[in-house]
Amino acid sequence: MSGLVVARVETALSLSFHIMFAVFGVGLPWLLLYAERRWLKTGDPAWQALTRKWARVMAVLFAIGAVSGTVLSFEFGLLWPTFMSTYGGAIGLLFTLEAFAFFTEAIFMGLYLYGWKRLSRRAHWLVLWPIAVSGTLSTLFVVMANAWMNHPVGLGVSHGKITADPWAVFSSSTSWTEVTHMFVAALMCTGGAVAAVYAIGMLRGRRDEYHRKGLNLGMAAILALAPIQLLIGDFAARDVATTQPAKLAAMEGHYYTSGHVPLTVGGFYDSQTHQLVGGVPIPDGLSLLLDFKPGAVVPGLDQTPANQQPMTAVVHLAFDTMVGLGTAILLIAAWGAWRWWRGRRRGIVPRIAHTRRWLWAAAFCGPAAMLAMLAGWEVTEGGRQPWIVYQHMLVADAATKSTGLGWALLATVLIYLGLAVALILILRRLASGAPPELAEAGPEIGPEIGPDVEPTPALEVTR
């Protein structure tokens, strides 16, 4: 492998590893705010048990997120020295602000995780607010730095040095579409993972109040956000079309500039013929989506010199993966909404019964959200290639010239693999079910649920 390839693989590996844990640092505090609040208000032991369990999970995931984030901050310099020495000043403000946000998160995380005996109940709950807010701000600043690489704003040159207006990125539309898309994705990944864990527990017969509450909260988070994510994604795609036309063309596998461009669902991009093979075209779909006019002209990859095009086959596949999984989650949300509405009309409690089909849907949501999020990052990063700073600096020019990187990559793979395996084993141990006193399956309010049988509205609940 050449040094450039090693640097890219190393960065991709470290980023994916980091982001899979970082999303929980962003999402879990928000879920905990709800769960611990319910415990404070109701004294319900199930909420207490959930709060305690999630706090432990958050402790482990936050630590792994913190150390893998440190790896990234070093790697900027170790792997991309030319990028940093040229544009460090441009994205420095964002990373400084991110450091403060992370700092605040780490401080209050220490108070939260170790403060059970030292803080009043209410203070303990209040401590979650700075954690949740600063975790969200961390996402905002880091993703904004990435948005700046996709759409560099505020650049100038004076006395032979590159200058950048460090505040310009805050008024760039790319920043806000990317940030909100990722923040909602982080919440959805967290909700999905929580729902999946409890769904699997219930499929194995642990049908207690603890599992039911955990499942419902996770599902509520991911499903309520699914339609919002669709809207934000639409805004984001529209922004990509204006600021990074080559990326949009690669996402859609669209080569020849023309009007009446179809939207092709699925299919593989053939880089020889520049055609999509095996997809389902929706006539005029892309033109309509971007410009609301069937005849709108959409610039294709032919507008970009061949050596400046991204790897369209990969980007298109990643984009379809993200959209496909997002759509599946959206369909589950629609199904859930319909069941809820029907349950409410017929006065059934619980509104959404935990049928096996529903539990399988919940178990699907966890991995689906995570995979969609990773695929989305492949679209963002792969779609920008070969640029590290879009139309300003090539990835190849930014990389280190060091020759010893193969060893670094090997070490990273081995260490991360070991840590990931250990983490999975530890999380499995943590997911050992409710505390014993809550574990006997209390009767679900409502009729007995057989496999895949919707409850009959036999039990009317007076309101």
Binding site: A59, V60, A63, I64, A66, V67, T70, V71, S73, F74, F76, G77, L78, P81, M84, S85, T86, Y87, G88, G89, A90, I91, G92, L93, F95, T96, A99, F100, F102, F103, T104, A106, I107, F108, M109, G110, L111, L113, Y114, W116, K117, S120, R121, S158, I162, T163, A164, P166, W167, T400, S402, G404, A408, A411, L419, A422, L423, L425, I426, R429
Partner: protein
């Protein structure tokens, strides 16, 4: 003061905070590693490890962020120097990173893993070993910046080739161990259940103080041989720092002997702070003393555009206004006794 110098001051202060706070966490790992080596049961090695783990728990992540802060400040304010520093120090910094990752992961895996992946004892070993590796590599890296042998094309092993840098690595480990032992004396004295550990850590603190002093003295001749430019500035500017540091080092020994552990924390911190100050004064104005063109990586030469540096300074003021009170709150809450669990 110019904006560039203000940034330098902020970076040195952050580095100092990292050394005094996270340094002690790494030193805790060192004592975890050597606990029980004497074979004397009455020193209660498991009790020592328990106290170390409990002292780290709430604060180690916040302490660690000071490092992120240093990195981010250097790459934002001095991007060209950062590029070369990272390239030429890739081996020691890479190994320090390995230590950081393994230390943090092993700590939480031991604390929350319940033996699910590896026995707690194994994670404890990894935690302890990584805690020694990291300060050693940072010591080597810091000293290598002064030697003048680094540049964009220097060999990856170049930072390890001077006795000066290697001694600095040893000094860093000794200093972290010293700080940790001094802090732990006070922590152990807080509870009667673990009061028997006070003399254990007192002894360790005094040994580490002597070891740190010896390592610092051993560095002096190699400083003049391996880092002539910085050595000349050291003679001009840093002798007072060195003298004050030596004085506080001796004072630390005295107050430890008299069992005044809160005062010992202050004298120990000042002894370390003045070492770092002396190095910073001798290093100024170069971030990296380059072997080629003189002051190619001086602060002014490698600084980012003024508007970037100014924006950073504004962000620093706003951020510190949030972080410092929060940090104080964290330290204050964990220094008072716990109330009944709710």
């Amino acid at each position: 003061m110019t904006a560039v110098n203000a940034m330098l001051v902020i970076i040195v202060l952050s580095l100092l905070a990292y050394a005094l706070l996270a340094g002690a966490d790494f030193g805790g790992g060192f004592w975890d590693l050597v606990a029980g080596w004497s074979g004397k049961k009455e020193r209660d090695p498991e009790g020592q490890r328990g106290l170390i783990a409990a002292s780290l728990g709430p604060v180690w992540e916040a302490n660690h962020v000071w490092l992120i802060f240093v990195i981010v400040s250097v790459f934002s304010a001095f991007p060209t120097a950062f590029g070369t520093i990272a390239t030429s120090l890739e081996l020691p910094l890479g190994l320090a990173l390995v230590g950081i990752v393994l230390r943090g992961a092993a700590y939480v895996y031991r604390a929350y893993g319940d033996g699910a992946a590896l026995p707690d004892r194994w994670w404890g070993r990894i935690f302890a070993g990584a805690s020694v590796l990291t300060p050693f590599m940072f010591g080597v890296s810091g000293a290598a910046l002064a030697t003048g042998s680094l540049g964009p094309h220097s060999m990856p092993t170049e930072p390890f080739r001077s006795a000066f840098a290697l001694t600095a690595g040893v000094l860093a480990v000794a200093v972290t161990a010293f700080l940790a032992a001094v802090y732990l004396c006070h922590n152990a004295a807080q509870s009667p259940a673990i009061a028997h550990l006070v003399p254990v850590f007192r002894r360790k603190a005094m040994v580490a103080a002597v070891a740190s002093g010896a390592a610092a003295l051993a560095m002096l001749p190699s400083l003049y041989r391996d880092a002539p430019i910085v050595a000349a500035r050291f003679t001009d500017r840093s002798i007072p720092f060195a003298a004050v540091s030596a004085a506080f080092g001796v004072a630390s020994l005295l107050v430890l002997w008299r069992e005044r552990y809160v005062v010992a924390r202050i004298t120990a911190a000042l002894a370390v702070a003045t070492v770092l100050g002396g190095w910073a004064a001798a290093q100024y104005p170069d971030l990296l003393v380059s072997g080629g063109a003189v002051d190619a990586y001086s602060a002014v030469q490698s600084a980012a555009a003024p508007q970037s540096v100014n924006a950073m300074l504004i962000a620093m003021c706003l951020g510190m206004a949030v972080v410092l009170p929060s940090f104080y709150l964290l330290l204050k809450i964990f220094s008072r006794p716990a109330v009944d669990e709710h």
